[in-house]
């Protein structure tokens, strides 16, 4: 192997492993480098509840559905992303939450009218906080405690 090739390999070792170790030392993530902190934080060991923000569609026919993995907002937007986006919006204030809901409602209806999703026509799009008391048998998975945070277009809310 030539000296130039060896230098290239060493540069690659530094780029792949060195960059990752820097992320580990400073405990930060810079895609594609990561300290891989999955499930690492166990400090809240006595926590027995799980909370998340969930979009709930209320259809014109009176039925209700949660935005899960059905692809109503595209196949790449996951429930975790929805929760993250609205958590950030709530930190910015009520107007931001309402603007996000309006954008989401319009986007949903546009995709539906274009035939890109099979969602039902919406009467209202609501943002709820779901809370589960964790049960090993998962018996309450579909029956969380719910608090309405905001809605569009009617604008009902319990906790702004």
């Amino acid at each position: 192997m030539s000296r130039g090739r060896r230098r290239l390999v060493h540069a690659l070792i530094v780029a792949v492993l060195g960059g990752n170790f820097v992320c580990l030392i400073f405990h930060g993530q810079v895609w594609p480098y990561s300290p891989y902190p999955m499930f690492a934080d166990a400090r809240d060991r006595h926590l027995r509840t799980l909370q998340t923000l969930v979009l709930v569609g209320e259809a014109i026919d009176g039925s209700e559905f949660w935005f899960e993995g059905q692809g109503y907002l595209s196949d790449v937007v996951s429930p975790m992303v929805i929760s993250e986006v609205f958590s950030a919006a709530r930190a910015r204030g009520r107007e931001t939450v309402e603007r996000r809901l309006r954008e989401t409602y319009d986007f949903y209806e546009r995709r539906r009218s274009e035939g890109r999703s099979e969602g039902l026509p919406l009467r209202r799009l609501a943002l709820y906080r779901f809370s589960w008391r964790l049960q090993p048998d998962l018996s309450n998975v579909r029956t969380p405690a719910r608090a309405l945070l905001a809605a569009y277009p009617t604008g009902d809310r319990d906790h702004p």
Partner: protein, 327 residues
Amino acid sequence: VTIVARWNRFWFRPGRAEDLAIGRIVFGAGLFVLAVQRPLYQWGGVPRAYRLPADWFGFFGVPIASEPLLYVLQWAWGAAILALTIGFFTRTAAALVCLGSLYLLGMDTPEFLGRSYTPAVFVSAILACSRCGDALSIDAWRRRARAHPEEYGWPATLICAFLAYTFFAAGVSKIWLTGFPDWMVSDMSYRTLLYGNYWYASRGKAPLPVGAAILRVNESFAAVIGILTQMTELLYPLALFARSARLTLVPLMLALLVGIAVAMGPFFGLTMLAHVFWVPWTSVLRPRQSEELVDRGVGAQREDGDRRRLPDAAQRVPAGFAPTTDA
């Protein structure tokens, strides 16, 4: 033996072109499935607030293209992955796969959800700098390139070192955030499974969301799983140096990843696929022929009369589960 000699012997052990090629084919095929299944181009159409790309998109002003343009880019990325898999302009294809992965997967909430995609970038970058197209490829069929045994070992070694970092970092992060041995003796494994079941089972992602219930059968079982998980993560780098560690820790970690996917939902598919580079395929698939090749001092895969002898030091490692070569 000097440190430099040890270093060179670790990284630049001779290998077999076929072992590297099989790794390329298997990893490329898996990545191609991801490229076909995940409609990343849809990020171009979602409201701006939902886009959570890598931080450097904003820092460097890298735009998220429109949906039609992303559609074309994703197809081009898929074509490059296919070219890498079949070995057609292999190194160029690998470089394009690396850049495509960096951009397209960089849009896909990587710092929030997408850590499992990092092998797409790093493995393709390593393959782009290697001679991974010297065997089992269209390039090898078109050109009669001579063999370079010293070029076929280091890519697999570096990929395995990257995997070792991945798990070691996960183990260290647990110490960093929770303390040692606090994480492993806490009931974190039980609660993590339970969280996963609530988060994913309600969305139908875990094929068999019974992990938490099984752990609850016996209180100490959850702690055993926690100890097993963190110890496997922390000790995984030993697999780079010891055959016994390779034979135990690597399959154990794969089993844990399968368990997480089945019982909880998150699927670390590319990380699991990258394990293909641990296996000396020529020894596993054709042990007798491999032994004969070593006996004859033949280091390469080509039948073109340009076979090269392996260095003496590399000749007599027993065939088995080695990261780079059986030679």
